[in-house]
Each structure stands twice: as structure tokens, then as C-alpha cells.
């Protein structure tokens, strides 16, 4: 086995690889750019080599620089992680030339799978199911119908030169195929001056399901089940799970065997992923093969108990696979949520900056990975697992130069239901401040009925959140439990206030038992009966909730148990109550005495100013340039001004046609988030 490996990557994946290497007793070398001088992977590795300025194309993906780092440190192997040089055959070649092992497939396999057309051809030759279609020239409507029948309905009729939906028709029967062919052809001719048409299978209710394969250099190949990755936003995966709630054993086996066949066809070694698109009838079609470790590999590890990084290193070291297909058992359920530094309330605008708070939930070891002794790192054991793969720490920075992923939070449990529940709690326990992030959105997905039933397709986010994400409306029971917790917490906080020094003896304030909790537009009068273990909070309709938990005033996280069920709240301070974040909701919770509530009800509701006719500063920054003048009419998409934040220039554009009525900021002004830059008529 190797004595020292270099990880040609950064962030969470570099840390992930280091963990396994350390477990295997292998020395590790990190590489870093100027921007990553203080990064976690650099701190974790035994050695670290600087390889250039922040942009990846001047550091992490410069083959010469990486080769220099290898030479300097005498690393015997390189793990490329994902992205960067992981699927770069030239890099594999350079390593080969230098006699350094590449922890990945041979360069031939990378090349073969790197090209869409070649890979599809190879797949077809290996009898892997591909999307059926007819690429040749189609003469007339009759031929179109004939071909459509061969493919099987529904089919998509497309203009060869097409784009933007023009010249595209979906046909479910002969008649529609005939009509569709004609209209597509006409449209194509008039739009593109090219009336060539082709037909392919239209995949309905598409899901993205991928198979993990693992091959050694001795002709052995196995598959480690599938991962369901249908929940994506603009082709960026957000939630993954293993196994898929959709596949049956027969389909899994068929997909797995085809995936292994494809891998063998290209002489694949190491871990790889074969991506399929699967339709509502469980028909599956090959999409592409990723010749590297996938971001979402932990879910496979969690249900199979196989440490994929370890296997990759062993295979690269020439070892034979020690597991056979028969050894691969899928056990329990694993879910991964990707935490991105993207603000869901601002249409997922990337957010960069300092993590003033970063406190992930404590990791808990459980499941096959623990049983096999392959759990990476230290964690107490529990019934359900929590795993957090990350490359950041509190006080660290999310930089503009790289992927905005902050962490991959995974849970494992014996059943899908339990794994989802564990994830909900893990998300609620994840404290992350200083930058915008998608935690509330992830919580919302975990509570979405379609996700809960597993009824998901790749269009899930586009269909369920067509206008973006604007928070969560909590169901009554959750709301009441939060209200009960807030009341109990407020009472504790108020009692502490009465313990201040300088009191008038014998005339102390008595904290009462009756309160009114207001949140999400509702008010609940409650009565608190507190004892040594907790509080029983009774609502005016007679229903009551038992609240226990070790919260003390000032704690930013309240890990409560309400009615025997865990409820985790992120607690902030507001006047007369708390800001509570839980289950994707962000609530202002007021707890008042009945009299205070009565008087508070007299206060006029102050509507937030109408910002639809304003340009707000989306991030703290400096105005570099204002491109428009008062009175000027601007068109949708027109540049209005430029804000510099973290050395990056952001051009703010008009969202619709409007006339500028007022400009509040000029070049050189330093603005905070939501400061009004200009107003429109």
C-alpha cells in the first residue's frame, strides 16, 4: 500500500479523503491556493503545498503545479476528488509518466466516457439501455408514424436545428405523431431554415437514478446499488438518497448489471457512476458515466458499509476487490442534503463571506458503515446516523472562487421515514450564520408531501417552487408545539430577569403563568404549569403540550422534547420574544402577558415598505458605478449599477421596464443589505 498520497482537491472532498487515508495509515498531502491558506483540508493534512493564486485555473487545475507538489512531497498516489482534474485524461497521463498512481480509472476509460456520443455508442454496443431514437432523415409523416411506433409512445419530435422549444412536439399516438411531424417540420423550416426532424423517446416523469460501480484491475466489477438524485435545481443536485424509493429489485439488478457491463467494456477500474434517466414505468436509459467519486457517494457508503475512498485507494494500489456482488447488501436508508451558500429567499443568489457561526449537528455513528468498522472520524454511536462532510469551520470563509457548497449533511436510519425525520432534526440543529444559505429550503423539501411519499421527478423543484422559495407555512400542530416551547422558554427567561441585583426586598416581581403566544399570524393564549422536569402548556381549547429541554436564556439552540417528540429550534432575540427558526420557517414569536397582548393588539400593523419599485442592495458592498439617471426609462435586463462585494463586481439589472425616479446612492457609497439604491415610478 502507498505511504503517502496527495489529494489534488480542496474543500469537503479533500477532507473526506484525508479521513480515510489517515484511517489506513497513509500520510496525506494537501494542495492549496492563496485563498485556501487557512482552509480545513490544509489543517487536516500531514503536509500542504501551495500551488498558486485563488482562481482554480491558476492553481488546482494546473497540471504542472500539481505535479510539482507531488515531486516535492514524494507522494506515491494522487486522489483527485471530484471536479478539477478528476476526469482529465492528460492529468492521468502525466501521473502515469511520472510513475505516480492515479486513484481513479485508466485514462482510456476517462476518454471514452468523457465524450457524450462515444459513450452512448459504447453503451449501445455493451447492450446498455439508451434513449431510443431515430437520427436519420425522416421523409414524410407516414415514416414518422412508423418510427414512432418502433420507438414506442410517447415520443418527442424535434427539429435538428431546434432550440428553445421551437419545432418541438410530444406525441402520444399516431395521429399526434403525424400532426406533430408536419408542424415541427413547418416550424423548423420557418424558424431555422432547416426542416430536418428527428424523433426520440419522450421520457415521462423522469428521475435521475445512478448506479455506483466499483472495479479492480483484475477484471472484477460490482455495483453498490443506486442513488436517487432527482431533486435538482438547474441541474445542480440538492437532495440525494439511497436506495431509490422507486426501484424494485429486478430493475435495480438490471440497471446494476448493465452499469457493470459498461464499466467492463471500457476497462474501468476504481469507483465510477453510471447515470440513468428512469421513466414512470421504470424504463431506464443510460445518460452518462462519471469516471470519478461522486459528490453524493456518502449515501451509498452509509447503506452498504463500504468506504468507497478506501476501495479506490486499494484498487489503485493493485489490490483485488475483497467484496463480491453477493457481499453487497443494501441496509437501511440514507439521505444527503447539500448545504449551499445560496440564499433561497433571493432566488438562490450565491452568498459569500465569513461564517460567523458554523455549528453542525453532532455526528452520530450507526448502520453498516459503523458495523464494518469503516466510520470515518470519531462519533458516538446511536440508533440513527448523522454524518457531515465539510471543508469549512466557524470563522472560515466561503470564497467566491469555488463551489458554494458548505457541507453535505447525511443521515442514515433503518427506514426511509426515520432517515427523513433524522434529517429534519439535523437540519434544525445546524447553526449557520454570516452568509445566506439554503437550510430553510432543505427543511421545506424534507417536509414536502411529494418528497415524503417519494413521488419525485427531476422537475420537482421547478414544479413545486415555480416562483422560488419564500418560506414555509407551518402546520397547526408544529406551530402549537413551537408556541408551547416559546412560552416555556420565555417564562424561564423572565424569571431570570427578576433575579437581578438591586431589587426591592419583599416586593419582587412575580412571573405569572398565563401568556399569549403570537406567531405566524396566530395568537394562542396559554397557561404554563412548570415543574422540575419541564412545563405543561395548556391552550385555551384545553389541549396541552408537555415541553422538556435544557434550554437556558441566551442559548442559540433549543433542543426540546414536546409531547415526547424532538423539536429543535434556532433561537434569536427580538423585543418581547424570540426569532425562532425551525422546519424551514423563520418566525417572530412574541410571548406576552394577556394584558400586554391586549395592548399590543391596539398597535397598528406596520407593513414593510413596498420594495417592488425599488432596487435593493443584495449584499453588503460598495457602489462602483451607477449606469442610469433620474427620469431615464430602463428596459428589463438593463444594467442599473455595479456593486462591488468581496472584490467581485456584481451588475444589478432592471427586473422590468421602469422609469428611474430617485437615486439614493452614488459611486463610493458603502451599502448594507437591503439598502435602497434607487426607486422607480
Amino acid at each position: 500500500m502507498f505511504n503517502k498520497i496527495l489529494i489534488a482537491n480542496r474543500g469537503e472532498i479533500a477532507c473526506r479523503v484525508i479521513k480515510t487515508a489517515r484511517k489506513m495509515g497513509i500520510q496525506t498531502v494537501a494542495i492549496y491556493s492563496d485563498a485556501d491558506k487557512n482552509a480545513l483540508h490544509v489543517q487536516m493534512a500531514d503536509e500542504a503545498v501551495h500551488i498558486g493564486p485563488p482562481p482554480a485555473n491558476q492553481s488546482y487545475i494546473v497540471i504542472d503545479n500539481v505535479m510539482r507538489a507531488i515531486k516535492e512531497t514524494g507522494a506515491e498516489a494522487v486522489h483527485p476528488g471530484y471536479g478539477f482534474l478528476s476526469e482529465n485524461s492528460k492529468f492521468a497521463e502525466a501521473l502515469e509518466a511520472a510513475g505516480v498512481a492515479f486513484v481513479g480509472p485508466p485514462k482510456g476509460a476517462i476518454e471514452a466516457m468523457g465524450d457524450k456520443i462515444t459513450s452512448k455508442k459504447i453503451a449501445q454496443e455493451a447492450e446498455v439501455s439508451t434513449v431510443p431514437g431515430y437520427m436519420g432523415l425522416i421523409e414524410d409523416a407516414d415514416e414518422a408514424v412508423k418510427i414512432s411506433n418502433e420507438i414506442g409512445y410517447p415520443v418527442m419530435i424535434k427539429a435538428s436545428a431546434g432550440g428553445g422549444g421551437k419545432g418541438m412536439r410530444i406525441a402520444w399516438n399516431d395521429e399526434e405523431a403525424r400532426e406533430g411531424f408536419q408542424s415541427s417540420k413547418n416550424e423548423a423550416a420557418s424558424s431555422f431554415g432547416d426542416d430536418r426532424i428527428f424523433i426520440e423517446k419522450f421520457v415521462t416523469q423522469p428521475r435521475h437514478i445512478e448506479i455506483q460501480v466499483l472495479c479492480d484491475a483484475h477484471g472484477n466489477g460490482i455495483y453498490l446499488g443506486e442513488r436517487e438524485c432527482s431533486i435538482q435545481r438547474r441541474n445542480q443536485k440538492v437532495v440525494e438518497e439511497a436506495p431509490s424509493p422507486f426501484l424494485d429489485e429486478a430493475t435495480r439488478k438490471a440497471m446494476g448489471e448493465q452499469a457493470v457491463a459498461l464499466a467492463k467494456a471500457v476497462g474501468y477500474t476504481s469507483a465510477g457512476t453510471v447515470e440513468f434517466i428512469v421513466d414512470g414505468q421504470k424504463n431506464f436509459y443510460f445518460l452518462e458515466m462519471n469516471t470519478r467519486l461522486q459528490v453524493e457517494h456518502p449515501v451509498t457508503e452509509l447503506i452498504t458499509g463500504v468506504d468507497l475512498v478506501e476501495q479506490m485507494i486499494r484498487v489503485a494500489g493493485g489490490e483485488k476487490l475483497s467484496i463480491t456482488q453477493a457481499d453487497v447488501k443494501l441496509n437501511g436508508w440514507a439521505i444527503e442534503n447539500r448545504l449551499y451558500a445560496e440564499d433561497p429567499y433571493r432566488n438562490f443568489l450565491p452568498s459569500i463571506g465569513r461564517l460567523s457561526m458554523y455549528r453542525p449537528p453532532a455526528e452520530i455513528a450507526a448502520g453498516p458503515l459503523l458495523r464494518n468498522g469503516k466510520w470515518q472520524g470519531e462519533a458516538p454511536e446511536g440508533p440513527t446516523a448523522v454524518r457531515n462532510d465539510t471543508g469549512v469551520y466557524e470563522g472560515g470563509e466561503i470564497s467566491m472562487y469555488y463551489d458554494p457548497m458548505i457541507a453535505k449533511l447525511c443521515t442514515w436510519a433503518p427506514t426511509r421515514e426515520e432517515a427523513i425525520e433524522a434529517m429534519r432534526i439535523a437540519l434544525d440543529s445546524f447553526e449557520l450564520e454570516g452568509i445566506g444559505h439554503n437550510l430553510p429550503f432543505l427543511s421545506a423539501v424534507m417536509d414536502h408531501p411529494k418528497f415524503i411519499t417519494g413521488d419525485i421527478t427531476t422537475a420537482f423543484i421547478a414544479e413545486e417552487y415555480p416562483d422560488g422559495f419564500d418560506g414555509v407555512e407551518l402546520p397547526e400542530l408544529t406551530l402549537r408545539r413551537i408556541a408551547a416551547s416559546a412560552a416555556a422558554m420565555h417564562r424561564v427567561a423572565e424569571i431570570r430577569r427578576t433575579r437581578v441585583s438591586g431589587r426591592m426586598d419583599n416586593h419582587e416581581r412575580r412571573v405569572g403563568t398565563d401568556w399569549v403566544v403570537s406567531l405566524q399570524g396566530e395568537s394562542f393564549p396559554v397557561t404554563i404549569a412548570a415543574d422540575h422536569d419541564g412545563s405543561t402548556v395548556t391552550f385555551s381549547d384545553g389541549s396541552s403540550h408537555r415541553v422538556t429541554g435544557a434550554w437556558t436564556p441566551g442559548d442559540s439552540l433549543a433542543e426540546m422534547t414536546v409531547d415526547g417528540e424532538p423539536l429543535v429550534l434556532k433561537v434569536g432575540k427580538i423585543t418581547g420574544g424570540f426569532r425562532i427558526r425551525s422546519r424551514g420557517a423563520d418566525l417572530k414569536v412574541h410571548v406576552r402577558t394577556p394584558r400586554q397582548a391586549e395592548l399590543a393588539a391596539l398597535m397598528p400593523e406596520k407593513l414593510p415598505p413596498d420594495t417592488s419599485k425599488m432596487l435593493l442592495c443584495p449584499m453588503p458592498g460598495l457602489i462602483v458605478k451607477v449606469d442610469v439617471e433620474v427620469g431615464q426609462e430602463v428596459q428589463e435586463g438593463q444594467a442599473l449599477c455595479t456593486v462591488e462585494a468581496m472584490k467581485m463586481e456584481n451588475i444589478l439589472r432592471a427586473e422590468k421596464r421602469a422609469v428611474v425616479s430617485k437615486i439614493n446612492a452614488g459611486p463610493g457609497d458603502s451599502l448594507a443589505v437591503d439598502d435602497v439604491i434607487m426607486e422607480f415610478e
Binding site: G502, M504, K573, T575
Partner: protein, 510 residues
């Protein structure tokens, strides 16, 4: 007998009605609470003891003798906030528009005299149309009587004003002399002369809100220390502030149980200072990470944001914080920030509240507007305030401490008790570039030489050790241990006693 007792109840009912149901409804429809409702929210439940409920005015002009409502437009008395005594007056807009008469003023004076005598804060809830015109000079005399008491009480007991309606003309000068002024957004305003007079005299057209609303006074004039959304929030926040304040100048600041570890380490502070010395960072993060339970009561949040002032607790005890804010104007000192911080420091000193100073200051803001505005004397206010303060003073220099601004910011030379510096501190006369260009003026044409000199200067002076060598810094500390070190420093200063020479009073450069 029963009838006689009933008589009291009946009279009380009448008094509590103030200006009557119709006017109470009018008050509510403006989004404002009544004088008594406000007192209910300000004080602990059932703790209010009223004085002078049946006092009436003595005016006989203009038919006033026919209307003599009980209380005369102000409710006064005492009660408790979390069990601690405070005196309160609350003007009743439903009675003669809360206008101030001779007797109205007498009621206020009475509780102020008691507050000073008994050592408890005075909280004034202002909602008044102004002087009682019918009373003429008697009303003016009443104002002056209140002013005189504000002056005498200043520095003896904390005085807090909450502006919850109009406050115009002479009426503004009573709040102006109290320690803190808070306003309610959209329903309060303060000005010496109203929009009508402004129009007549200067031809300027301006609304009451623009002239003297909460936004104007918290952002532009700095007359107000904070503004809140409505009466309920404002009164809750005043309660919160009172929890931080001592009851009088003979008492130590209050201590309350805390749920935080005094020795809590914050590893993330080790990366708070950015690599580039010119990159800003948010000083509030440091304040929150030093404070017990990340609880910070900021004073003048919206004014002169280049300096931060406010109260935190350390080990349960109140500490006043003054901190340069690198996010705004690089954290420099200027006229506004010096004035803001000087007043805050003097408040803390007057009431024995220890002061924590967090320093990252590149110097004073240069320019004609500053010099013409008198930055010399305004800057001197802060210098003076720090120098005369005898309370425990702990200072942490996080990054820049350049030039005269270094001296000003609670330096060792101004009797700082514990002066700590982070390893990232640069204590020097000025930045390396500026210094080099002066010291090596002869080499100015030679960029290479200048660069080398700059590097030399940085190596020699851009650190805390030169100052530490001289003892101007007591200790260079790890950022992550700041809370622990600061907490221990204040613990060590609990019995600090120093005295300034006797004087009638000082002559701070006002």
C-alpha cells in the same frame, strides 16, 4: 362609612378615565396607547403606586376653571422594573393634549425630587402638545422647574425619556438633558420650532416627520438614542435597558444570573482579522462573542456607525462597550463618532459602569469639513472623557491603533487598567506607507527603495510588540481567549478605587 369609601373608588374611576372614552379611542386610533396603559407596560404588573391622582390646575383664565380634570394631564408615581424601583411620569394626551401647566410640572418635579432623594431612575413618557397656553408664564416657569431638576438629577440617577407623541418647543429641553432619549417611529416627533414656523421664517417646506421624526433624530441629529416600531416595543426595550443600569450613582451596576461560561473560548476569533489590512470586518461579531449570551444593547445604532456604543454583560455584570467599526469609514474617529462615544463614556463613568474599549482605528478623518466643524474640540471630548473616567477600563486593540487616535481610545496613558493587544495589532504613529514617505522623503522618487523601506517599517512597527516592549500593552493575547481575558480583567478590577482631584467641575471642551 361604605359611602365614604365608595366615594374614593368613584373618584379614582373618574381620574383613570383621563380625557374620557372618546379621546382614549382617538389616541388608540393614532396607534398610541394612553398614559396609564403605557405605565402598565413599563412597570411590573400591579407595581405602580400613583401620586397626585387628584391634583388639578389652578388656572382661572379663558374659562379654564370650568374644566378641572383630575391629574391635570400627567400620571406620576413609582413602581418596579423586574423588582427594581423606578419613578415615572407619563403625559396624558387625552387631557388638554398633555399640555404642561404649572401643576402638571409640580407633579413631575415631585417625583424627580423623590427619585434623587431615594436613588432611583426617572423615566419620562412624553406625549404633550407643549405649554398650557392659557397659563402663560406659569407654564414656562413649570418647564424651567423641570429643567432645573433634570440638571440636578444628572449623574445622580439615570434619566430616560421616551418620546411617544409630539414634543415641541421648550418641551424638548427636558428630554435633551436626560441620559437617553428613545422615540416611537411614525408617532413621535421632536423639534424646537415646528414646520409652520420654519416655513414662515426660512421659507423651507418640511414635514413634521422630516423635521423631527424618529428617523431624523436617530440618523441625522443624534438627538435620540434609538427608535422602536410602536409603544409596546419601545416600553419593552426601556425595561431591557433598565436591567443594565444601576439605580443611582452610589450603587454598583446590577448583576444578574448568567448562563454563559466566563472562560468560553471562541476559536473563530483567530480568523476575524482579514489577511489584508485594508479589508473591513464586522466588529459587532467580536462584541457578541465577548458578551454574556451574545446579548448587546446598542445605543445610537444608526448614528456615526464608525463607532459602536452599548451595553453588554460579562459574568452577569453590566459593561459599557465602545468599539471602532472597521466596516464604516474604516473605523476612523471623526466629529460625530467622537461626540457619540464621549457622551457614552461619561454616562458609564457617572454610573460606575466599567468600560470595555475595542480598538481598530486608522486615525482621525482628514478634511476641511472636519477641521471647519471643529474636530479638534470634538475629538478632545472623547480624549477628555476617557482620561477623566475612574471606572475600570479594559482595552483590546485588534488591529490598527494609529497616531493620536491610539492615545484617545482608552490607551494605557489615559489610565487604562488592562490594555491588551491581539497579535494582529499595529500600534504606530501611522500606517507603514505614510510613515515611510515622511521618514525617507529623500527616496520618494525611487519606488523600489520606498518599497524596501515600507517593508522595513512594517516589520519593525506593524505589530504590538514595540508597544509591549515599553509596557504600553500589558499583554499580547490570543484572539480566541479574549472573553476569558477580559472577564478576568474586570473581575480583578472589582474593587478599583481612584479619585480625581477635587474640583467644582471640570471644563470638558463642549
Amino acid at each position: 362609612m361604605k359611602d365614604i369609601l365608595q366615594e374614593l373608588d368613584d373618584r379614582r374611576d373618574v381620574a383613570r378615565q383621563g380625557g374620557g372614552q372618546k379621546r382614549i379611542e382617538a389616541q388608540h386610533s393614532k396607534g398610541k396607547l394612553t398614559a396609564r396603559e403605557r405605565i402598565e407596560l413599563l412597570l411590573d404588573e400591579d407595581s405602580f403606586e400613583e401620586f397626585d391622582m387628584f391634583k388639578t390646575h389652578r388656572c382661572t383664565d379663558f374659562g379654564m376653571e370650568k374644566q378641572k380634570p383630575y391629574g391635570d394631564g400627567v400620571v406620576t408615581g413609582w413602581g418596579t422594573i423586574n423588582g427594581r424601583m423606578v419613578y415615572v411620569f407619563s403625559q396624558d394626551f387625552t387631557v388638554f393634549g398633555g399640555s404642561l401647566s404649572e401643576t402638571h410640572a409640580e407633579k413631575i418635579c415631585k417625583i424627580m425630587d423623590m427619585a434623587v432623594q431615594n436613588g432611583a431612575p426617572v423615566i419620562g413618557l412624553n406625549d404633550s402638545g407643549g405649554a398650557r397656553i392659557q397659563e402663560g408664564v406659569a407654564s414656562l416657569a413649570g418647564y424651567a422647574d423641570v429643567f432645573q431638576r433634570n440638571i440636578m438629577a444628572s449623574g445622580v440617577v439615570p434619566q430616560i425619556s421616551v418620546i411617544m407623541g409630539p414634543c415641541a418647543g421648550g418641551a424638548v429641553y427636558s428630554p435633551a438633558m436626560t441620559d437617553f432619549i428613545f422615540m416611537v417611529k411614525d408617532s413621535s416627533y421632536m423639534f424646537v420650532t415646528g414646520p409652520d414656523v420654519v416655513k414662515t421664517v426660512t421659507n423651507e417646506v418640511v414635514t413634521a416627520e422630516e423635521l423631527g421624526g424618529a428617523s431624523t433624530h436617530t440618523k441625522k441629529s443624534s438627538v435620540a438614542d434609538g427608535a422602536f416600531d410602536n409603544d409596546v416595543e419601545a416600553l419593552a426595550e426601556v425595561r431591557r435597558l433598565v436591567d443594565f443600569l444601576p439605580l443611582n450613582n452610589r450603587e454598583k451596576p446590577p448583576v444578574r444570573p448568567f448562563f454563559d461560561e466566563p472562560g468560553r473560548l471562541e476559536e473563530s476569533l483567530d480568523t476575524l482579522i482579514p489577511e489584508n489590512a485594508n479589508t473591513p470586518y464586522d466588529m459587532k461579531e467580536l462584541i457578541l462573542k465577548i458578551a454574556d449570551e451574545a446579548d448587546f444593547y446598542e445605543i445610537q445604532e444608526d448614528f456615526a456607525k464608525n463607532i459602536i456604543t452599548g451595553f453588554i454583560r460579562i459574568e452577569g455584570q453590566t459593561v459599557g462597550v465602545v468599539a471602532n467599526q472597521p466596516m464604516v469609514l474604516a473605523g476612523c474617529l471623526d466629529i460625530d463618532s467622537s461626540r457619540k462615544a464621549a457622551r457614552f463614556v461619561r454616562f458609564c463613568d457617572a454610573f460606575e459602569i466599567p468600560i470595555l474599549t475595542l480598538v481598530d482605528v486608522p486615525g482621525f478623518l482628514p478634511g476641511t469639513s472636519q477641521e471647519y466643524g471643529g474636530v479638534i474640540k470634538h475629538g478632545a471630548k472623547l480624549l477628555f472623557a476617557y482620561g477623566e473616567a475612574t471606572v475600570p477600563k479594559v482595552t483590546v486593540i485588534t488591529r490598527k491603533a494609529y497616531g493620536g487616535a491610539y492615545d484617545v481610545m482608552a490607551s494605557k496613558h489615559l489610565r487604562g487598567d488592562f490594555n491588551y493587544a491581539w497579535p494582529t495589532a499595529e500600534i504606530a504613529v501611522m500606517g507603514a506607507k505614510g510613515a515611510t514617505e515622511i521618514i525617507h522623503r529623500a527616496d520618494l522618487g525611487d519606488a523600489e527603495k520606498i518599497a524596501a523601506h515600507t517593508k522595513d517599517y512594517e516589520d519593525r512597527f506593524a505589530n504590538p510588540f514595540v508597544a509591549a516592549e515599553r509596557g504600553f500593552i500589558d499583554e499580547v493575547i490570543m484572539p480566541h481567549s479574549t472573553r476569558k481575558r477580559v472577564a478576568r480583567a474586570f473581575a480583578a478590577l472589582r474593587n478599583k478605587k481612584i479619585r480625581n482631584p477635587w474640583k467644582k467641575h471640570d471644563n470638558i471642551p463642549l
